[in-house]
Amino acid sequence: MPTLETVQLTKKYGNFTALDHLDLKMEGAKCVGFLGPNGAGKTTTLKLLSDMIYPTEGECYINGIPVKSNRKLALADAGVLIETPEIYPSLTPREALTMIADLRGIPSSERKTRIDEVLEEVKMSEWADQRVGKFSKGMKQRINVAASLVHDPDIIILDEPATGLDPRGMAEIRQIVRGLKKRDRLIFMSSHILQEVTDVCDEVALINKGKLIFYDTLANVTARFADGNYSVDVALSREANKDVAREVETIKNVTSCEILDKNRLRITFKGGPKAQQELLESMVKLHLGMLSFADSAGTLEEVYLSEIERGD
């Protein structure tokens, strides 16, 4: 079972404490979103986990292997993407990925197939043999994502992977992460985009000023902080007006229905997954032309803001 663990992990720069005795343990196949404002200590944590920087105190482990004293073994089964790395400009994506695959020990007989697969996954096949030097930031980031996946790792550490990508690129990254979840991987991903976290993550860890605020499942976090209220965002093919909202509010367990824009509603309801299932069935029966029905990032946003404000 893949595991990531930090024990009393601390990083100080002079008098400034970037990370303060962080204890965090993630086990099993899941996606954990790592949230926090700028300077909270997210990237510091991920850099410590990947041995880019060294802890002042404490230790971090990948699959039980201490990173600082055995980086090579610890990173063997991990894919890492920290910030937006630059690739040697005179190499092509295929050459750059071949270098990483070679250093990771992927046999030459499988290397080409594997590289073709990951290039396809990040939609960069047609650029495989062009020099990286002239690529846009987004294109380089796709290659970086491919490099972190080339050895099909059990653990993937991603630091704001959607940075520099256009909306289609962001959606594709989410698609890739969903695909990894299906293949029983442990993904630890920092992000500023709450919708992204809501879409793909099972659990959330919130950090502020170097301290862990909470680490729990997404469902528990939203339920705990929303006093038992859950929210879903619904997209309709027809206009989302007051009449539609009033109609939705008549459904059992629904406490409010907010019009987000011309075609979207946010429905808040009491109860857990069972109530959500009943709500979905009721919505279908109303024949409102429902296009999508998804957990709302709004609740997480409220939780995020209230916790950060409390910390400030």
């Binding site: 880019m52 073994l73 990173l75 630059e86 040697y88 190499l91 990483i100 070679d102 020990g105 972190s148």
Partner: protein, 296 residues
């Protein structure tokens, strides 16, 4: 990642992917780094500079052929030995100046260090790549010199001293690259490494050598530019192969009387020892710095 492998009976079985050992990773990294260098503009620029120097030299040699150059040994002493030290410093600066600092400044380190690889592997792999790439440049210069030598001296154009001088120049290359890598590890900004190495090797050490010899009246054994003298010394006769310097004193008139000028020439073994000491000490210091440096 799991990979399919065949056992001795030819049966397929699945094993976990095993990361290669450090000894295997070093040549792999060096290979890709060399490929990166050979594809880069800096390699083309360096080849162009060496060819231009060679062309200018060939033209001057042909046009103003010095009467002092009567045999291949004196020819290589003034041409090859005079030029190769400059070519070595230039190559070291081009290939080694940003080798470590560039990983931080250009953020390529975030790409490379995400792999399961020790920092020492990166340092050694890059050093080997820079050494071999510089060696290619030195060989191009050597070929130009040999072509000139063959033109003027025919079958007598290959004295054994030239081979020995090439070996000594490789020792000098190790020392210069060791120092360049040290400076590159010391700073996170590539240009500092470039500038400091170039200034030190093209001006600084020669100045220091003059100061130590002229004012301190001591053998400048601690200065690398002094040790590099063995690259040319091997063409002299008799050759001092020893660990101690050849000291010569020249008297000259001054307004207040007679002055003396003492000059030191390193013995071959002494020069090589100094160069190897530079290489070992700067490499250890550079590696130590790189191990401690953080990707902040």
């Amino acid at each position: 990642m799991e990979i399919d492998t065949l056992n001795e009976e030819g049966m397929k079985y699945t094993t976990r992917l095993k990361v290669p050992g450090t000894i295997q990773q070093i040549p792999r990294l060096a290979r890709y780094q060399i490929s990166e260098y050979l594809h880069s503009k800096r390699f083309i620029a360096l080849v162009a500079i060496v060819v231009a120097i060679g062309a200018i030299f060939s033209f001057i040699m042909n046009y103003y052929r010095s009467t002092a150059i009567t045999d291949a040994v004196s020819f290589y002493s003034s041409s090859w030995a005079g030029g190769v030290t400059f070519i070595i410093v230039l190559s070291a600066v081009f290939f080694g100046g940003d080798s470590i600092a560039g990983e931080f400044q250009n953020k390529t380190g975030y790409f490379l260090m995400s792999a399961p690889i020790r920092r020492s592997t990166v340092y050694v792999g890059k050093f080997i790549a820079a050494f071999l790439s510089s060696f290619v440049i030195v060989l191009i210069f050597l070929l130009i010199m040999i072509a000139n030598g063959a033109y003027y001296f025919g079958e007598n154009a290959f004295p054994w001293q030239l081979g020995a001088s090439l070996l000594f120049s490789l020792a000098y290359l190790l020392a210069v690259l060791g120092t360049t890598f040290f400076f590159s590890s010391l700073f996170k900004t590539s240009s500092y490494g470039f500038v400091l190495t170039a200034i030190l090797f093209l001006i600084g050490f020669s100045l220091l050598q003059t100061v130590v010899t002229g004012f301190a009246k001591t053998e400048p054994w601690m200065v690398i530019s002094y040790a590099q003298g063995v690259i040319g010394q091997v063409f002299n006769s008799p050759i001092n192969w020893g660990l101690s310097a050849t000291v010569s004193t020249t008297k000259f008139r001054t307004p207040s009387g007679i002055g003396t000028l003492t000059t030191y020439s390193p013995g071959i073994a002494e020069g090589i020892l100094i160069m190897l000491c530079y290489f070992v000490l700067t490499s250890i210091a550079g590696l130590f710095l790189f191990e401690r440096e953080e990707f902040t």
